[in-house]
Subunit: 351 residues, 2 copies
């Protein structure tokens, strides 16, 4: 009854870690995984160790960064260090239509985790359309980052409800975990004046595996956007890093925490700011990841509540743990007949 | 559709503050309130200002402490400084059966907040029985503290489900708000080794209004229990406070955070500890309220995540804000046909 079967779209960093985390969760059985090389399906449960070996070169994202290898014919993404992919697994089959192949199995899948965080903005909404078209009626969950994607999903709310799909969006670290922390911390207040999300990541030992993430982060710097960052050569990326002595600081990032907190009625999107510090040359976090929520209580006091992550927790743990947690809640909602689009802050106490 | 009507049982500190908070929440309309003096009902919405005036002397609990005046014929509770109660309100009627009178109106009530935190252990379960008996099919929510009450509610799960009741238990500060913080902070980890909840409260200016709370807290000190604390005279209570120079420190309190976190699958109840420091003679909090969750991530790192409340947030804000938040989630669940007994940690992402 409480067991959940999951399909994982993408075998970059997030997809692989979802598979790995599933081995810690008795209730979660990965039954399908795909990347642009192929698809693996086993309704009794995939051999995770074998799949992790087969997709080892695919870690191109440490926190859900760019470079995921899933495409559906034409949506090719730059990727460094790609391995042989799912098709190299004994269980896997080579295919040119990996997502369609997962959709064909979707009647036996409770939840689909779209580990495709940094593709074109409309990629995930378009994948959702294809699941709707195939009559899927389970959970779709993503770890997207950009605010503008939420609107594209909202436009699809009616079709998702009609299909019986529960779509949980922005369920990684930020948005996701830290959005949830903000929504909970807001409960002391009747008026929230500001929510400040500030993350720290140290990447030295993981840099080679996280080039995609660094590229995506550069897109948030002044003078860059997703398109320009995507076109940069590795040498150009290195040059930007050198210019900053290995430490990239970000302010006012376009992360969907803002619209997801507004959706939940907690504050205006404009009251939310997201920033962080990425140190490419040290493993130590350059700053402690902290969510600060400032507001006024019903009895007129102004205060700040905080939610803080231990410095030893990796970006990976803080993306994938919450994603699996929100997935579990999404499946419970779906089984109770609750359909539509939901952000992480809507799965917490109301405001 | 999103509007919620609420009945409040009890006009001690928590009940009064629920009424006050409702004036900050457009979606929440209090339509009934009762205490041992009487009942007030208005399906268009109670006159909160008038009710607060009429029940002013009833604040006997600052964080949901003892001394709530609701009884149902025989369950008299010691209370200092009781006012004239609901019956003194122009809208209110004197009654000897206040809870039954609310139950009679329950067809028009979406949620019932039982602001009765410190009565006998089986009082809230028995009130639930009476709502079941009357065919109520909405939300019941309480701000109880003691672990042992949860078992009494679990025994009633089947009747509650059959009745279509969604029961949210332990939805104040601790358990409640801080339980939720712990459940969320746990999401970084695959194994949680300890959860430490430590609260600080400064009471100087509110002492007279919070004698009931102090009495209930004394029941947690070594050598005392609920029964002995209830029998103490005010002079005996003062003597204990003097012995401690006004600062009472508590360890290993029986607060239901432990069983509620175990229910949600986050850790064993034994891994949870609750303690705090109450300074009766200062308004400043003697320690910052902090939840610390220590665990191991899927990638083998040990770390501690924290959830911390600003020192200026009052006990009142941290009990009543979350209670109203959990109430909203409970009503959404109830309207979606989700019935049974739920703790705060079960309304957050799964684990």
């Amino acid at each position: 009854m409480d067991d959940i079967t999951v399909a994982v779209l993408g075998t970059g960093g997030i997809g692989r870690r979802t598979l790995e985390l599933s081995t810690h969760k008795e209730w979660l059985t990965p039954v399908a995984a795909c990347d642009r090389h192929g698809i693996a399906v086993d309704h009794e449960g995939l051999d995770v160790t074998e799949l992790l070996d087969a997709t080892e070169g695919n870690i191109a994202s440490g926190d859900g960064g760019a470079g995921d290898p899933v495409t559906d014919g034409g949506t090719a993404i730059k990727q460094s260090g790609a391995g042989e992919g799912v098709a190299a697994s004994v269980q896997g089959d080579s295919t040119t239509t990996p997502i369609d192949d997962v959709i064909a199995e979707s009647g036996l899948i409770d939840a689909v985790l779209m580990a495709l965080p940094n593709l074109e903005h409309d990629f995930i909404p378009r994948v959702a359309d294809r699941f709707v078209g195939a009559g899927y009626d389970g959970v779709l969950i993503d770890v997207l980052k950009r605010s503008r994607v939420i609107g594209l999903l909202d436009e699809r709310e009616e079709q998702l409800v009609d299909s019986g799909i529960t779509f949980v969006c922005g369920a990684g670290a930020t948005p996701g975990f830290l959005t949830g922390g903000a929504a909970l911390a807001a409960q002391s207040f009747v008026d929230v004046e500001s929510i400040d999300i500030r993350w720290g990541v140290g990447l030295k030992s993981g840099y080679e595996d996280n080039r995609g993430t660094v590229r995506e982060d550069i897109a948030h710097l002044d003078g860059y956007d997703i398109e320009t960052a995507r076109e940069m050569t590795d040498a150009e990326i290195e040059a930007v890093i050198d210019d900053h002595d290995g430490v990239l600081e970000f302010t006012d990032m376009e992360h969907a925490d803002d619209v997801l907190l507004e959706r939940a009625g907690i504050c205006d999107a404009d009251d939310v700011s997201v920033g962080g510090v990425l140190d490419v040359r040290n493993d130590e976090k350059p700053t402690t990841t902290t969510v600060s929520v400032t507001g006024t209580t019903f009895d007129g006091e102004r205060a700040t509540n905080t939610f803080q992550l231990g410095d030893a927790t990796s970006m990976a743990a803080n993306v994938n743990g919450p994603a699996i947690g929100y997935l579990k809640t999404g499946v419970r909602m779906n089984r109770n007949g609750v359909y539509g689009v939901f952000g992480p802050a809507e799965l917490l106490p109301g405001f």
